[in-house]
């Protein structure tokens, strides 16, 4: 059971990191400061 929790937690963290990438990219996309 603990194994499943840790594997799932790892996936969740990396999914959050991917969402975080998209968030940073969208912050750039929303501004015209280049």
């Amino acid at each position: 059971m603990s194994d499943l929790i840790f594997v799932a937690a790892s996936f969740v963290f990396f999914i959050v990191a991917v969402v975080y990438i998209r968030g940073c990219q969208s912050l750039k996309g929303g501004r015209n400061d280049a």
Binding site: F13, F14, K28
Partner: protein, 596 residues
């Protein structure tokens, strides 16, 4: 402090200075995919790897793709290591001590730790990990996590060097070339050099030696009462140490084969092996300054960054060496046998927690170097340093480990500071900030600030909970300000992906294993993403010719300003916590107060 000590410190820095240029130019050749003398051997291996994995080596990646590939690789290798740890008892290979499966909390913490190049170890390696786990689960990660950091630094440098480009290179190619051309060949030579000094490399079961004198050892029994037993034998750990030791230092990993790390005579037997280990921590990070200069076509900029790093390194080693060379005021006059002055028989100063083979100077230098970089290997116990001496490793990590820093991670961390410095310089003269001909704009500064803010949030947040909750306090070996330093050091080391321990905290608890794991992940990946965003944005910009208002990033003034920004950011962020920890402990020690 002695002239002999300073001479050794001087020799160390001279070696780093001499090696930086050839190392940096070689890495520039490797990452720019120019011809090197290793191509006839490694070229076919590289092509075979791409063919087997289906990698298109000519494909370029946007920063989001580069970051995504890095995340996928890290997740896959992390889960692989977790599986190896959990299944080591079931794999009938290289487990002569028959160690059982690693407990889930610890296995996850360790898998995260080695994936993030932290190499924090909440366990005694020689009593927990099989040889297979040490080699296949941990040593391989030492290569991978280092190569990932180097790839990311190169991606950032390309972001500066390129103009009007949407891409930063190919993660898989950078990862492969960093491993094959830089880390692997260096480690082969280095491991053999370590063996020549006495570092062991074998697959033998552990040896048992009969003690010359029987020892009475008192431990606490299950009923809480003291139990005294007679010990007549000693178990001496064995294993494939040299091969792990080489990448442990070169990759600024720091995760040791034995619990006492580089204080163990099988890991670090001689003063020469000690010098080699410290040198190898700085070799690649120092080389990256030259790589930066070459790839952005401004060698002087690379040397300006090198100069700023050198100043901060010297300030750290000077303070740490001075603090450790002082006698402990609590021991003055207590006992005539506690002589703390330097004599022909001893080096003097605070020798608690230090190897007599290395003495005060090499212990202070090692502690400074290992925390300037994100290595985390230790040859002395930082917990036993004087309060101000122990504060230096802590401050080095607080500054972001950009004083040469981890392989790759130090360079990209320093470049974020450069962006901030250029921005502040621009504000001071009232001109649009420019960095090597590129305008630094709102998005770059926003991402840079995000990079800076994540670091203290995870450190101070978890440390605050730990000093309030019983499950945090129960792990302490000391109370008062020293206890705060222990907790602060643990989260600082984890967030900075350093991995060294203050050595007074029992971190093998559910609370610390899980929260330190989260801290390591946040300190690695949540900081990499905004860094890559800055790199990707810089790559898209046009390059403007320098004007009278351009702040030169090749001058001594730039180096001074860069040092100032680094110190101010670090001081403003962590000074309150430091004042309640090591600084308060130092002041109390001077009036005769210590804490059990």
């Amino acid at each position: 402090m002695t002239s002999n000590g300073w001479l050794q410190i001087g020799v160390f820095f001279a070696l780093v200075l001499l090696a930086a240029k050839p190392m940096g130019l070689y890495m520039a050749q490797v990452y720019e995919r120019k011809r090197t003398w290793l191509d006839p051997v490694l070229g076919p291996v590289e092509r075979l790897l791409y063919r087997l994995t289906g990698v298109d080596a000519k494909a370029e990646m946007h920063w989001t793709e580069y970051g995504g590939a890095m995340l996928i690789f890290s997740l896959a290798t992390m889960l692989l290591t977790y599986a190896v740890e959990r299944l080591q008892h079931a794999i009938p290979l290289w487990n002569p001590q028959h160690w059982p499966a690693v407990e889930p909390y610890l296995a996850w913490n360790t898998a995260v730790s080695f994936t993030t190049n932290t190499n924090w170890q909440s366990y005694v390696p020689e009593q927990t990990m099989s040889y297979l786990t040490q080699m296949f689960g941990l040593a391989t990660h030492n290569f991978w996590s280092a190569a990932v950091g180097m790839a990311l630094a190169v991606a950032f440098i390309r972001g500066i060097a390129r103009h009007e480009s949407k891409t930063l290179g190919n993660f898989w190619v950078d990862l492969t070339r960093g491993t094959l051309w830089v880390l692997a060949p260096l480690c082969v030579v280095y491991a053999l050099a370590l063996v020549s000094q006495g570092v062991i490399q074998n697959f033998k079961p552990y040896d048992t030696a009969t003690l010359v004198e029987k020892q009475n050892v008192t431990t606490t029994g299950t009923d809480g009462k003291p139990v005294t037993s007679v010990v007549t034998t000693q178990t001496i750990g064995q294993g494939p140490v040299a091969s792990q030791e080489a990448i442990k230092m070169l990759g600024t990993n720091g995760g040791s084969f034995f619990n006492t790390n580089s204080a163990h005579p099988f890991e670090n037997p001689t003063p020469l092996s000690n010098l080699m280990q410290m040198f190898s921590i700085f070799l690649i990070p120092a080389g990256f300054c030259v790589t930066l200069g070459r790839m952005v076509n401004s060698p002087k900029h690379g040397w300006a960054v090198f100069a700023a790093m050198s100043v901060l390194w010297f300030a750290g080693v000077l303070t740490c060496y001075w603090a450790e060379a002082q006698p402990n005021p609590l021991l003055k006059g207590v006992d005539q046998h506690v002589a703390q002055m330097g004599t022909a028989q001893q080096s003097g100063g605070n020798m608690e927690g230090k190897e007599v083979r290395f003495g005060v100077a090499n212990s202070a230098l090692f502690a400074t170097v290992t925390t300037d970089a994100s290595c985390g290997a230790v040859n002395s116990m930082h917990d036993s340093f004087m309060p101000l001496g122990g504060m230096i490793p802590l401050v080095n990590i607080h500054l972001g480990e950009i004083i040469f820093g981890g392989v790759g991670a130090g360079m990209y961390g320093m470049l974020i500071f450069v962006i901030l410095t250029v921005f502040i310089a621009g504000l001071m003269v009232g001109r649009t900030p420019e960095y090597l001909g590129k305008k630094v704009e709102a998005f770059d500064v926003q991402m840079s600030m995000l990079y800076f803010l994540i670091f203290p949030v995870v450190i101070l947040g978890f440390a605050a909970v730990s000093v309030l909750a019983p499950f945090g306090l129960s792990s302490l070996s000391n109370h008062g300000p020293h206890g705060l330093s222990q907790i602060l050091y643990a989260y600082t080391s984890a967030a900075g992906n350093n991995g060294s321990a203050f050595a007074g905290l029992n971190a093998n608890t559910h609370w610390y294993n899980s929260t330190l794991g989260i801290t390591m992940l946040a300190g690695r990946f949540l900081m990499i993403v905004p860094m890559l965003a800055v790199a990707g944005n810089l790559a898209t910009k046009k390059i403007a010719p320098p004007s009278l208002g351009t702040f030169p990033v090749t001058s001594p003034l730039f180096a001074v300003l860069l040092v100032g920004v680094i110190v101010i950011v670090g001081a403003l962020t962590f000074f309150p916590a430091l004042s309640l920890g090591p600084i308060l402990e130092h002041l109390l020690l001077r009036v005769g107060t210590s804490f059990q």
